[in-house]
């Protein structure tokens, strides 16, 4: 069947609900799990609305080719890749302009959180694979990669939580979905090292005035806080399970 994308008549209806039934300040459901890949040093799977994003970490490991190694810090490499089946229509496999840019953006967002000076001459390779995309893949990717880095035992200043904020007409909405990403007026992905309140990624696509920007930024911080809480829980969960198995019964941490 031919897939035709159609713009919904209204992105926000008369009851103030968005196309997927959410209110303007309601996020999509998020599920996180770490340690999903046995062969990688660290891994995480994030299900964020319709997004399915797998992040894997290899490292610290030897740099190949050798001349790329940095004498004073680790080389952080990121590959963001979308699977051919991740989009409504088949996507040509391989890197394109967009995924090269996102790889760089994600690297910049994460590199500041890593103690790169602890691993001179080594490489930390981060793979972000988008299995299914539904708007906001870069923020979900950063969230997943940050979890995977922690699970790999890489020294970090803190976890990076990320979220996207959108604008429809004059309404600021959190965590835009597919329709809002396609036909909304603006969107603004934010990544924060939440414990320090240091913003490591801030992009804006579309116009916003100053008061809208400030509203979006403070909403973004609140959303990142939520994401951060989920990240902490996801990292602790495997250990809680083992503890329950060993100590037994209904005892929890």
């Amino acid at each position: 069947m031919l897939y035709v994308e159609r713009r919904p008549e209204k992105l926000i209806d008369e009851n103030g609900l968005r196309t997927d039934g959410r209110r303007p300040r309601e996020m999509r459901p998020i599920k996180m799990e770490v340690g999903v890949l046995d062969r990688a040093d660290g891994s995480a799977l994030v299900e964020w609305g319709g997004n399915r994003i797998l992040a894997a970490i290899f490292g610290p490991r030897e740099v190949h080719p050798k001349h790329m190694a940095l004498p004073d810090r680790a080389l952080v490499r990121v590959r963001y890749n979308m699977a051919p089946f991740s989009t409504p229509e088949r996507r040509k496999p391989g890197p394109d302009r967009r995924s090269i840019e996102l790889s760089k953006v994600i690297r910049n967002a994460l590199e500041q959180a890593i103690f790169v000076e602890k691993y001179p001459g080594a490489a930390i390779d981060i793979f972000v694979e988008v299995l299914r995309s539904d708007a906001g893949t870069r923020v979900a990717g950063i969230t997943a990669a940050s979890l995977a880095l922690a699970e790999a035992g890489i020294a970090m200043r803190g976890l990076v939580a990320a979220c996207s904020i959108g604008k429809i007409g004059d309404v600021i909405v959190v965590d835009p979905g597919h329709d809002e990403d396609m036909w909304g007026d603006a969107d603004m992905p934010i990544a924060v090292m939440f414990e320090d309140r240091v913003i490591t990624l801030l992009q804006m696509d579309g116009p916003m005035d100053e008061s809208q920007f400030n509203e979006a930024l403070s909403l973004g911080m609140s959303c990142c806080e939520l994401v951060y809480e989920l990240q902490k829980e996801a990292l602790r969960r495997p250990f809680v399970f083992v503890e329950r198995k060993v100590v037994g019964g209904g005892q929890t941490v």
Binding site: P60, Y119, G121, A150, G153, K232, V253
Partner: protein, 223 residues
């Protein structure tokens, strides 16, 4: 002098960036932020001893340190150098002295000492100390380098339990390679299972007791 504050319990799991304490001495894997909070740099277990705060890693790669005893596997012999896999991001090298054949072959397991490592070029190993060299007739197992202290235990207690119960010789190197000279098949199976359990459950107290029991059951013929 500031009063010290602690925000976590001893042996609690901490997340990178989590505040652990204020006004105490930072130990391993702990950093101080601008406001003077001691924060974890890793996913690990907080360890509070007196005034000192450490974070025990739950997973890590082996980064060579000078004078570490490591077990390695010969990977390649080419020209003047021998390349050794030491379970690390870095492949180690041995440069044999002139006119001195070490008699090593690809696949051999060796015990060596780290002679030099600058973080950039390959770590240099040496065999020129008493007791170092090729180890034969043994099984090479691999554990997470972060769990080496757990497998050894406090003053070698865990290692003692493992070797005395199974009647086997066990050598745990800093880099996470474990060399076992087992008494028999069953004791090897017991050791392998015990190492698995130590890696999985090391963050829960009472580990030695559980390992003791586990070894007893396996050696008695259970599973």
């Amino acid at each position: 002098m500031n009063r010290s504050e602690v925000y976590v319990k001893d042996r609690e799991i901490v997340i990178p960036g989590q505040k652990i304490a204020k006004g105490m001495t930072p130990g391993d894997n702990v950093y101080i932020d601008k406001e003077g909070f001691l924060r974890s740099a890793l996913l690990g277990l907080a360890s509070l001893e007196g005034n000192k705060v450490d974070v025990i890693p739950l997973a890590s790669a082996y980064i060579p340190k000078v004078n570490d005893l490591v077990v390695g596997k010969i990977e390649k012999i080419s020209g003047g150098t021998i390349l050794v896999d030491i379970n690390s991001p870095f492949t180690a090298v041995i440069v044999p002295p002139r006119n001195n054949k070490l008699g090593l072959e690809v696949g051999d397991v060796i015990l060596a000492k780290v002679k030099a490592f600058d973080g950039m070029s390959s770590p240099l190993l040496t065999l020129e100390f008493e007791g170092l060299g090729k180890i034969s007739g043994c099984v090479l197992l691999e554990i997470d380098p972060a769990k080496v202290p757990r497998v050894i235990g406090r003053r070698g207690s865990m290692l003692n339990i493992l070797s005395s119960k199974t009647g086997s010789e066990i050598l745990v190197a800093q880099n996470g390679f474990v060399v076992v000279k087992p008494r028999d098949h069953r004791s090897l199976m017991a050791i392998m299972r015990a190492l698995e359990v130590i890696q999985e459950e090391s963050h829960i107290s009472g580990l030695s007791d559980r390992i003791s029991k586990l070894l007893d059951t396996i050696l008695a013929g259970g599973s």
